[in-house]
Amino acid sequence: MWDFLIPLFAATVQSGTPVLYATLGEMMTEKGGVLNLGVEGMMSIAALAAFWTSFTTGSPWLGFMAGGIAGMVFGGLHAFVCVTCLGNQVVSGLALTIFGVGLTHFLGVPYVGLAAPGFNPFDFPVLSQIPVLGEIFFKHDMLVYFSFVLPVLFWFFFRRTSFGLHVAATGEMPAAAAAAGLKPVVLRYFAVLAGGFMIGLGGAYLSLAYTHLWTNGLSGGRGWIAVALVIFAFWRPGRAVAGAYLFGGVMAFQLRLQAVGTNLPSSLLLMLPYLLTILVLILSAWRGRRIDAPAALGTNIEPEG
């Protein structure tokens, strides 16, 4: 039993990690009051940017950063359309996804099937020796370890820094933030850019750690799952971790089943994460916590004279 479960749980952590990065990124964006449905496109292009950088420079770390920056650039596009030009946030996000996925397929053609230097798992000193938990959590690559810290940083940012308070105020009531002498537009840009960076890191994880080679459709709906998980998490980083690993678990489980070989057709197994997303939304709606959403989420700030 343990022989099956421990590798399964370890794989859960690994496949949950990119979703976790993206979920936190989208959460950051939404905390600032901007809905970004471009996550899928941003993860795709970031995965390619990361792969290309690592492939050309040989440095996975540079690649990782490049992924973040690509996400940030796309976030900037979204912010320009929505925050500056007051475009519809839903439609802009969709456009960004169409654009990002298209651009990824277009630019990625020459690299399909090629490998780039990526991140490899190593035993985390000391902690990996803990029985069971060490096996599950501390035999991964560096980016997984970093993702353990990220939710804490996220929490710290919003609860323990004034800047985080300003961003949250902008997501709740931009007029109040402005009256307090803050600049809501700048704060929203920050939220979208910082969120985009994290979403980009999630994309980079896909090409640099999850696989080390380039294939099309690497993102595979993870961006959308991240958007759903923000709702599931009630905009709290702790619950985002739970949600991301839940998905990681289902994806890992489904891959394992395929590897073991079952009678179930693979296409039906592949539906599992998507079905689970809907289920998760039903469950979180059931608990009726819509009030946790930032009050100004999805509404643009009209310019005043």
Binding site: C85, G87, N88, V90, G102, S267, Y274, I278, L281, W286
Partner: protein, 353 residues
């Protein structure tokens, strides 16, 4: 120093100016991307033009592709008008194709005048149900319809995969994932000797039908009124919930019809190559057309032409088909940004000091 001012009157022709500007800008950037890729951008754009509008054959191809796009966009537009974000046209399209195929495979020997209507009905039902589910979830449990419709897209495509790889696979297909070919009774015939099938006529009927419905009927008026928000609808004693279910079913049904027509008239069987992203392009079309049925006709033809043109470039220059998505995404983004000028205008700040 410039200052932003809200317009007192809407900018006449502004929407058209913004649209053309966005188109031009996107083509320019698209050209630059191609140039950066080591292609001759001017030649490529010429190929794009030739492929879209250059000859009768190209126009015919565009018209063919415009048919499913038009139907999907109509569906998307009625939902968007009520501020219900149905992103699920892609999945509803697939379900429509599945419903139609089911009929075609179950009753292959029925005469055309019975079988085709049966396929259309089933396509509408399947597509409609696929949209009804998220509508119901939204109303009863406040489940975000953007995510649920999108997830249903992935599920629908996997279901289609399952059917063509497994359940409905043609034993004589040498292992290719596809259903047996439809009997003639299940195929929508061409108009005369042209390459265009009667689905075009169907589109014209549906388009005018919807236009008249929105303009002259009470239900259409209630739909338009509800577009301003659920609160107004409630104030006016409009049965908003029922309307959401109705509109989503209609929306999914239209996409389902598109799937039916594409399967029956173009492919003649169900196979994976059916799914080329019409459902997503339909969102672009609907928004560019500002959700107006008649504008949608033009916009879907235009974007269909773009697709055909990109295919032409793909053949001649080995440019990936994804170039089409790049253009679509960029046009939509620039239109969104440009729509700023429909509500606001910039003017010089007077005096200052």
């Amino acid at each position: 120093m410039l200052k932003i001012r809200k317009r007192d009157e809407p900018w006449k022709w502004g929407a058209l100016v913004v649209f053309l500007g966005a188109l031009l800008f996107s083509l320019l950037v698209g050209g630059l991307i191609l140039a950066g890729h080591g292609k001759d951008a001017l030649h490529a754009l010429d190929l794009l033009w030739q492929g879209s509008f250059g000859n009768a054959w190209a126009l015919e191809g565009a018209l063919l592709k415009a048919i499913p796009l038009f139907l999907c966009s109509l569906g998307v537009a009625v939902a968007f008008r009520m501020q219900i974000w149905n992103i699920g046209a892609e999945g509803q399209f697939a379900l429509g194709a599945i419903g139609a195929t089911w009929m075609a495979l179950t009753f292959p020997d029925l005469p055309r005048y019975v079988l085709l209507p049966l396929m259309f009905i089933m396509a509408f039902v399947f597509g409609g149900v696929w949209a009804f589910i998220p509508a119901l979830l939204k109303l009863k449990l406040r489940v975000n319809e953007i995510i649920s419709t999108l997830m249903l897209n992935y599920i629908a495509i996997l279901l289609l995969d399952f059917l063509v790889f497994d359940a409905w696979k043609d034993p004589a297909s040498f292992g290719f994932p596809m259903t047996p070919e439809f009997t003639p009774g299940a195929v929508i015939p061409s108009i005369g000797n042209s390459g265009i099938h009667w689905g075009l006529f169907f589109c014209v009927v549906v388009g005018f039908g919807l236009w008249g419905f929105m303009r002259f009927t009470r239900l259409g008026f209630e739909l338009k009124a509800s577009g301003e928000g659920a609160r107004v609808a409630k104030y006016a004693k409009i049965r908003y919930g029922m309307l959401v279910l109705f509109v989503m079913t209609l929306s999914g049904g239209f996409a389902g019809w598109a799937g039916c027509i594409e399967t029956s008239a173009v492919l003649g069987r169900l196979q994976g190559s059916l799914m080329v992203g019409y459902g997503y392009t339909a969102i672009v079309v609907a928004w560019l057309a500002r959700l107006e049925p008649l504008n949608i006709a033009f916009a879907s033809f235009l974007l269909a032409a773009l697709r055909v043109g990109v295919e032409n470039m793909q053949l001649e220059l080995q440019i990936p088909a994804a170039f089409g998505s790049i253009l679509e995404g960029m046009i939509l983004l620039t239109v969104l940004a440009g729509q700023f000028f429909l509500t606001y205008t910039l003017e010089r700040r007077q005096g200052g000091e």
